[in-house]
Symmetry: C2
Subunit: 338 residues, 2 copies
């Protein structure tokens, strides 16, 4: 092993040992141009002998490609922190990391911190997957400024970005139908107050279903930043003002656990007196007692789809504005049984 001591070997070292030029080593590695079998063997031997590993920074600078994609969300910490919303982000990130491998790419995790500009300052990427952006999402504008290809998971507001449809409407419909079938007659909706498409679509669906069923709507917007406590207070007030409530639909899981706590404190039995359902089937839904009826969003598949689309976009291919995600499926649990 005549490794040049101290210094990491470069193409130059490999070329010298194999008796060829740098360019030929590069071509043997990338396959960009054909290299004679015998030459290639000499090169491979030299690579093995030296323990050569390409300098990715140099390659990236030269090609202008980073072979990296990023995953990010701008959900505020009150909802996204801890194991709850984070679970949502993480399920997607893990799946995207595995799929990125098929495209010779790595996945960087952009942490959900207060300042998106700071979070992005030190990450280079060929493209980004943005999870459920809000209107005027800070990540989206930063990425647009930099001209970075984006695929949205959820549904983008206004922007013309390509997206994977997570079926907000169908999800709301699934949960509301379930409540109505179980005999709920006074269903309250506890919804995020921010301008997120998921909230708007869910609310429209709710209004329509209530109107069809001849049930007076009861919508309680809660600021996302207030998280579980906000939903707790909202539910406590609701139970006093509308004592007849027999079901609560809280799509944000942090809101659902807040509602559950308020119900417990008010002595209302779940599901006996009040049924509760939420959207994301994560730690919060499963850990609650009784555990919460929710929806399997098939996030692994969603992430796989989004990754493939993003890679096509980066490669300059045409991709559809909207891509159908897997259909959500109801997961019935104790909070709405019986």
């Amino acid at each position: 092993m005549d490794k040049p001591a101290g210094r990491r070997p470069t193409v130059k070292d490999v070329a010298r040992l194999a008796g060829v030029s740098q360019g030929t080593v590069s071509n043997a590695l990338s396959g960009a141009r054909a290299v004679e079998t015998e030459t290639r063997q000499r090169i491979n031997q030299a690579i093995a002998a030296l323990g050569y590993v390409p300098n990715l920074a140099a390659r990236r600078m030269r090609t202008g490609r980073t072979n990296t994609i990023a995953v990010m969300t701008s959900m505020p910490a009150a909802v996204s922190a801890g194991s709850s919303r984070l679970g949502f982000l993480m399920e997607i990130a893990a799946s995207a990391a595995i799929h990125a491998l098929d495209y010779n790419s790595a996945l960087v995790l952009v942490p959900p911190v207060a300042d998106p500009a700071v979070a992005l300052r030190h990450v280079a990427m060929d493209g980004a997957i943005v999870i459920e952006p809000q209107q005027d999402d800070p990540f989206l504008s930063l990425l647009e400024t930099r001209g970075i290809p984006v695929v949205v998971i959820g549904q983008p507001a206004g922007t013309g970005l390509p997206w994977v449809d997570m079926h907000y409407e169908r999800t709301a419909d699934l949960l509301l139908s379930h409540l109505l079938e179980r005999g709920a007659r006074r269903i309250a909706l506890i919804i995020g107050a921010s301008s997120r498409v998921s909230h708007a679509v869910t609310r429209e669906c709710y209004d329509r279903r209530m109107s069809l069923a001849g049930i007076p709507p009861c919508v309680i917007p809660v600021p996302e930043q207030e998280g579980e406590d906000g939903a707790y207070r909202a539910t406590r007030d609701l139970l006093q003002q509308v004592p007849g409530i027999d079901a609560i639909f809280a799509p944000v899981d942090a809101f659902a656990t807040g509602a559950m706590r308020a119900l417990r404190d008010a002595g209302r039995a779940v599901p006996g007196e009040v049924r509760v359902v939420t959207r994301y089937d994560g730690l919060r839904a499963r850990e609650e007692r009784p555990s919460l009826t929710a929806v399997d969003l098939h996030l692994e598949q969603v992430a796989g789809l989004a990754t493939g689309l993003l890679m096509d976009l980066i490669a300059g291919k045409e991709i559809p504005a909207r891509t159908e995600g897997p259909l959500p499926s109801l997961v019935i649990r104790g909070s709405s049984q019986g």
Copy 2:
């Protein structure tokens, strides 16, 4: 905005617009050398006017630093896949990503796939956090070959790598004491068959405690690859051969759920006839019915510690061989109550 059309602006463009040299722009950005206030202002104006964003690949190539750390684990998919073990990895990754930001670094997620060499091929990093490596861990040898600084979470086998102590012994002790206090007299240990330090330490602790309590040990090794099903079969056989078993300690959560299923199928009540405890307090433990008594490992803190140590190591500072992690705390749930 006299942005050079099509091309992304570079230091050169900024320098020209500000009427200074490239070097001065660089110094103004990095703070490596002092720059006169008035000059700095002109530079900042130029940066804003052009929308200049540094080319990280060029910077990395020049400095030799990637400002990236990676998180990885070599746990086989049968145990690590899905929401279970993945949760463990993800809790650490999320926390490490946030802490990395304090060191101007990004975090890449190395996906747990069959071939570690493939998983690492396209990621450049200054250092790595390796989670609970096994003996002759493939990631560890790859990283060593490349001379990449490593901090281990858990406990390394043999290697002299710095590590954050997750208190395997104390964790086992906590759970076994709990079972003994609740009156368990015939405690079986279902443990991973691979050469992982956590398994060895747990087993030693178990042997010692059983010996002290005058209880005949009953250890059932299950290959990690067999996952939940392996533990199911092992438990089924165990219940036939040793009918008097009144407690099961299954540190791997996938094994614990396998044991729970076997107990249900055998008609044994949990916790009435058999108590069950596991280690990682993740989705599996919480979702099980009854939910499983487990241990809060304070993974966010552990990850924060590991990230700080790794950054020091990268910076060339001396770091201790072993760093005390937060103490585990018992989370008592239905599977061992009453």
